[in-house]
Symmetry: C2
Subunit: 417 residues, 2 copies
């Protein structure tokens, strides 16, 4: 079976055709760098496995006629020349690092699809007006060095290069030392010139596209996030001799908060709310719990939605039985992608005859940083069972190929502007 | 201030009068064996501190004219002669071991009040028809060697002496070796002859008497206990990209069970239900929990009540969203004390003019084992703030003295039968 994403009779454009089989071969082929037998990949940022995939990527892009620039945080910019080199480049890309026991698609698809676009342009003799830059951002995952989205954060000015270099992993190795160790501390300080646009193809990492049997997600933005810690103080007591009416049970109060977080999210669609962490004290079967510490994650595409969710959470915590102390520990504002770039993605998907839906990303992406300095949008393809950060992560060859084709179509659309 | 428990004009009996000050001096005095500066006591069973308090106790009882018997598990029986030595002894007592960072009253009061009764009988020249045995049961607490209530369990035949001897603490020391080390492995194999009755004075370890300003609890039995483990299996998922409608959140299911356990107990008074232990997996703020393990403790004075609570719990677990597996891991049948002995406690309390209420013990006691082989009852006195197994455990001198006086009055009442 060929991975040709375009069903017979459905071609509505004369766009050059990306090669889905070739893209799939790259996905399977590069998975050997840090690959596990079950198809998973462990390729922590700036590890030797990361060096191997970077070397492959640089060599591949050079072979296609790209110039390579590497900046101080190790972001790799492979630029294919345009007819008018005075124009800013159109950029696409994502990241080649993975979580420990991660999959073959998260991030990787966006970079490899960029490479496939380069091949298709070269093969078909298609010349763009703009230069086209394919980017591999350093340390999107954040599992070795925190924070996540580090390379795009430095590029966008959210994090200084000096601070980033000084951050260390659990063994005490700094980002700077790790860059030197694999030979990817570059010269292009502060990144290259501004881009005309940035488009990132990524797997959804959620179940919506699969559940609605939709081929392409037109990503309109990234949810905002607010993190809260709550400390519940009840009264530790004997589980046998303390009557129900005289209890001040911290876990009962915690349970009320867990259900309230769910209800608050349901009442503020499309918001989501999660209590992912809970720790009970003293955590002994026959002692009424005296304390519970919980960590709460709330997300919504709008600040107003986040405000409403936070207010409802604060009200809940005020009214639960036991004493509870709520602290807002971190937040990330919602990102709204650039409407003309989003429109270009939507139009391109339509031109190709793929089913599409607008979608707000629940997960963070490099594109969220880049959106602060460049007109940006994203393209999602389905994730089987919504799984990600998992060795069982899967997107079919046909789904990957459709994503690559939409990426190319969008580039051509943007290039005409 | 004297700790005379009987208010002026309220004496309605000609019972000899126990000496509340003397009892309090013993409580404070013996707290030096394993005592902490803040009034707490750490006197783990068969430790050197336990040996010290045992030596003191044996010496004190010998001085009052008692014969001392020690059985194979180290239970100490101090017997004061009666007029008719062919009659079985009336027994009273409790335990002198404590929890780590325990208090001065839990168990200790029952033994020391027995000693104070002996003193009062001797001092007043009162002769009982029956012999009177004051017992110190080995290892009631179970915090060094499991199970708890070991000495009374061996006495009652619930645990064989050989098995008990072979049980080891965390350092690998066996009960047998620990008995030898402190010189309390006795000869009285299988315990002494059957008792006519057993009465145990104990602090309530709960808040009921204090809350209702009641002086004496007439204990009619010990709640039954059933322990359950529940393993909830949801689906681990991304907290950002998984919509609320597509979640299978193990912690949300767990919260529903926590609240159901509370509701089930409320609907089955005077039952109690507690989720004291919960462990969340993977327990990370931004991951929808995939698993929760919980431990549940349910208690009720009747088997029928326990059956109803268990059925309701099973129904709850069947109907929660995520998959949940409930296992019944341990149970202890309710104990109903001997009605004539309970009646003797109630009558004695009334004769002394103390306020009283019937109460079912929420905690386990040596009396629960002894009740299987001897007509048994218990007397409770208030615990400040319901606290126990805690260095802040407190019962006032007056409250202790009232308990001792009810104990003596009950012995006299039983002796007349």
């Amino acid at each position: 079976m060929s991975a040709d994403p375009l069903r017979a009779g459905e071609r509505r454009s004369n766009t050059p055709q990306t090669n889905g089989d070739r893209l799939w071969n790259d996905i399977v082929g590069t998975a050997r760098f840090g690959g596990a037998e079950n198809g998973g990949v462990t390729r922590l940022t700036l590890s030797d496995e990361d060096r191997q995939v970077r070397d492959w990527y640089v060599s591949e892009c050079r072979g296609l006629g790209c110039t390579i620039e590497i900046d101080g945080i190790g972001n790799i910019f492979a630029t294919y020349p345009g007819e008018d080199m005075s124009l800013p480049a159109i950029a696409v890309g994502s990241h080649l690092d993975t979580q420990p026991k991660g999959g073959r698609f998260d991030g990787i698809l966006g970079v490899l699809a960029g490479v496939e676009v380069l091949r298709t342009l070269k093969e078909s003799g298609t010349r763009l007006r703009h230069p086209l830059t394919v980017v591999n951002w350093t340390n999107e995952e954040g599992s070795r060095f925190s924070p996540a989205m580090m390379g795009s954060g430095v590029f966008a000015g959210a994090l200084s290069l000096d601070r980033a270099h000084a951050l260390a992993d659990r063994e005490g190795t700094t980002v700077g030392a790790a860059l030197d160790a694999i030979g990817y501390r570059g010269e292009a300080d502060g990144g290259p010139a501004a881009f005309a646009a940035y488009v990132e193809l990524h797997i959804e990492q959620g179940p919506l596209l699969e559940a609605s049997a939709t081929e392409i997600g037109v990503v309109t933005g990234v949810q905002g996030v607010r993190w809260f810690d709550v400390e519940i103080s009840g009264t530790e007591a004997h589980a046998g001799s303390t009557p129900m009416a005289q209890r001040d049970d911290a876990l009962v109060a915690a349970a009320e908060i867990v259900l309230a977080v769910r209800d608050i999210a349901r009442q503020n669609p499309p918001g989501v709310g999660t209590v992912g962490f809970a720790e009970v004290g003293p955590n002994s079967r026959n002692v009424v719990p005296g304390s519970v510490g919980m960590q709460i994650d709330m997300r919504h595409p709008s600040e107003a939605g986040l405000d409403q969710m936070q207010a409802a959470l604060e009200e809940t915590v005020r009214t639960v039985g036991a004493g509870a102390d709520l602290r807002h520990v971190w937040s990330k504002a919602p990102v709204v992608f650039d409407p003309p770039i989003v429109e270009a993605v939507r139009d391109s998907t339509e031109a190709l005859g793929f089913s599409a839906t607008d979608i707000v990303s629940g997960a963070g992406h490099d594109a969220a940083h880049i959106a602060t300095v460049t007109p940006t949008a994203m393209i999602f393809v389905p994730s089987k069972d919504g799984l990600s950060h998992n060795e069982a992560e899967y997107t079919s060859p046909e789904e990957c190929a459709r994503g690559a084709q939409v990426l190319l179509q969008t580039i051509l659309e943007l290039d005409r502007r």
